[in-house]
Symmetry: C2
């Protein structure tokens, strides 16, 4: 008898909170450079049997950015630190294929997988903020389609490097003086248009073979990459039907590349504002809205639409701006929402302040659980990337109040049954040379 | 009353041991991917009140490399992990200015300093192995002098990025809605010949201002860089007089750049083989020598001399090879030793197998302490980079048997009196914009 399908849960740690005013809540603690807070959140997620914690990233800043992003610890080093204070939970972070070297990134992620005993995940991004280019001595952020071509090649390159050594290379035979099995070390000799790396990588094959590959592109090029290689897909959807169509499309693409539809997990973002009653939850959201900085909120919306919004009338309908090469999934979802609900720019700005465009569920723990169950059972999601409005107590409430309901309903694990992120997700360990 | 001058001690962790046959000793544990071993070594060093642990690095491998280098965890992620399981000890690693991006490395090191509460050190290398170039899609390793010009610019660039934010940028004033003091964020706009980065860096100023800067170049260009910026200098010397001359030269250079001679600490490498009696220590060294793989030993020597040695007669005198652009300090020290002691290539190979060219002290704990004291008091060293022949027990012996003698003689601290690496070394925290 096969066990019933269960949802997967990730905790998206943006430590000043996902709501732009989250940090101002009375119980919120200081932001994204607060290691002690991040450690407690990761341990709480592990207590809640989450599949993974996830750290986003960007390689630029400005003072009016989202408070969780303006100043922050670097995610790869932070994951390495978290590997020492957690035991089971997956540890994933964003790293850019546009602004890192394959040989270096292969080592960082490989080390995290080794040190954590097989818990590393990698969110492959091509760089969502055009400002980043100038931090790397380049005049221009490459165009959208070129960034995806680079990403595809980058992934092929790091996979080749990760397969430099076959499994079982360590010998450590003191008597015979045999340290490694040299015949198991190979020189990948990867040569591409954008990236070349001869290798071998100076690291044995990692416990998971490759880290769990995460992707979030919603454009045609992004979906194509996801269908080929992604094992978790982050998505931004307000509408269950749209999310279901997205899931179906991605699983179809995966199948067309010879993959199992079960090996690509679609996990839309969800921000839950939880109250003892629905009215209390709504009051919390209102309080958050009153504390939001309108300038920062407009900047966050501008990043997501990919256009500078200064000069637009806040009380006019959302302007019909053409899609840019940046954050296309967000832009499309937000434009669709604005059209459907006839929102003004001010209304859309306030919505984005709350959840950065992701689905927002406001209510009791039961209502939140219902909202997750509905999408999960409809095939509109394999799980959810939980985006608490602030840390730590808004996330504590989710773990303490929503997770037990999901467990009681048989929708979520009671205990870990695996010790690797691939294990939690039911993903196979890739064969060597795969 | 000023306290007496005390030596500084670092533990150079090459986890399969510094002697190429160290891993074969009965008590040796498996090598450089063994996180648990590295954690215990770092904790032992902290128990011994060491100033720092140090992780070397290279961005290439081959099966016949030194066993500690062939397969290894990546040092920056490893330091981040160590920051969680240690409290006081400094955490330093090598990172290359030739094969990383300033914006990325500034973040990695900055995060380690934040997470460790001010314990990060950075060994600035320009890349000692020419093979590395092809791992980064480049045809050729840049020439020696160009690598140093790049390094100088790289350091200026990361310092500018580290000073993106003035101290005290965090406000976190919930009532006023004031998250940071935006006036304290600046755009460095660094533009160089090799590296440019506009900034700002997305991180507040780190606890130490900058990580402790470590350097090991022995060439004219390397000494010049060290005199300008290094706070710890690693060196390879067999002869006390040569080491004293090196110390004097570097301190003179530092003074010529307007720095205090006390703010540049010269720490030559020392490999100690410790026995209950001198005869026992010598037997251990012999046993190690018998276990050494001659092919690997010759390869290690070839790397240090910067020349392929295949075809040379092992029983003829060491050939007088011209200095290459690689590891010049090692090459010069080894050539001088070979001349002075009229060594054959085989004898030099066996010497390098033991300590990779560094000073080797073989004897009782008292003799080892004497050997350190002599150089320290002669002004030939400010401290020592301890290179145990294997881990963990050869290092445990140093901590348990040599350190107490140094402490009893007043030559080394009994307790930590600071919580940052700068504090242990008596180095000032750099002013913002310095």
């Amino acid at each position: 008898m096969s066990s019933p399908r269960q949802m997967h849960l990730g905790c998206f740690i943006l430590a000043a909170g996902h709501h732009i005013a989250g940090w101002r809540m009375p119980e919120a603690e200081a932001g994204s450079e607060n290691l002690d807070l991040v450690v407690r959140v990761a341990q709480k997620a592990e207590q809640g049997k989450f599949d993974l914690v996830f750290l986003a990233d960007a390689v630029n800043t400005r003072p009016d950015m989202h408070p969780s992003m303006v100043l922050r610890l670097e995610p790869l080093t932070l994951l390495a630190a978290l590997s020492m204070v957690t035991k089971n939970i997956g540890l994933a972070a964003t790293a850019s294929t546009t602004y890192t070297e394959p040989y270096n990134l292969a080592r960082y992620l490989g080390s995290i997988d080794h040190m954590s005993g097989g818990r590393c995940g990698w969110n492959i991004v091509t760089g969502a903020f055009a400002d980043a280019a100038k931090n790397f001595g380049r005049e221009k952020h490459p165009e959208h389609d070129e960034r995806y071509a680079m990403a595809t090649e980058f992934v092929a390159c790091v996979k080749a490097l990760w397969d430099s050594c076959e499994d079982g290379i360590w010998q450590l035979d003191k008597a015979a003086g045999r340290f490694i099995d040299a015949a198991k070390m190979h020189t990948p000799g990867f040569e591409g248009k954008y990236f070349s790396s001869k290798g071998p990588l100076n690291m044995s094959r990692m416990p998971q073979g490759y880290p769990v590959m995460i992707q979030a592109g919603a454009s045609e090029a992004g979906r194509d990459v996801a269908g080929r290689i992604a094992e978790i897909v982050y998505a931004v959807h307000q509408d269950m039907g749209a999310s279901k169509a997205f899931c179906d499309d991605l699983k179809r693409r995966a199948v067309s590349f010879g993959r199992s539809p079960d090996h690509i997990k679609i996990m839309p973002g969800v921000s839950a504002v939880i109250g003892g009653t629905e009215a209390e939850a709504k009051r919390k959201l209102e309080e958050l809205g009153e504390c939001a900085d309108p300038k920062v909120a407009l900047q966050v919306l501008a990043e997501r639409l990919g256009h500078d919004l200064t000069g637009y009338d806040l009380d006019a309908p959302v302007p019909d701006l053409p899609p840019s090469g940046i954050m296309r999934g967000h832009a499309e979802t937000l434009q669709a929402l604005a059209k459907k609900d006839r929102l003004t720019l001010r209304q859309l700005r306030n919505f984005v302040a709350a959840s950065m465009g992701h689905r927002l569920i406001v209510g009791t723990p039961e209502q939140v659980a219902d909202g997750l169950q509905e999408w999960f059972e409809a095939g509109a999601a394999d799980g959810f990337n939980i985006m608490p409005p602030w840390f730590p107590t808004a996330f504590d409430d989710f773990v303490d109040q929503v997770v037990p309901i999901l467990q009681k309903r048989g929708l979520f694990r009671q205990e870990y049954t695996a010790s690797t992120l691939r294990g939690h997700l039911g993903l196979p360990r890739p064969e060597w040379g795969g």
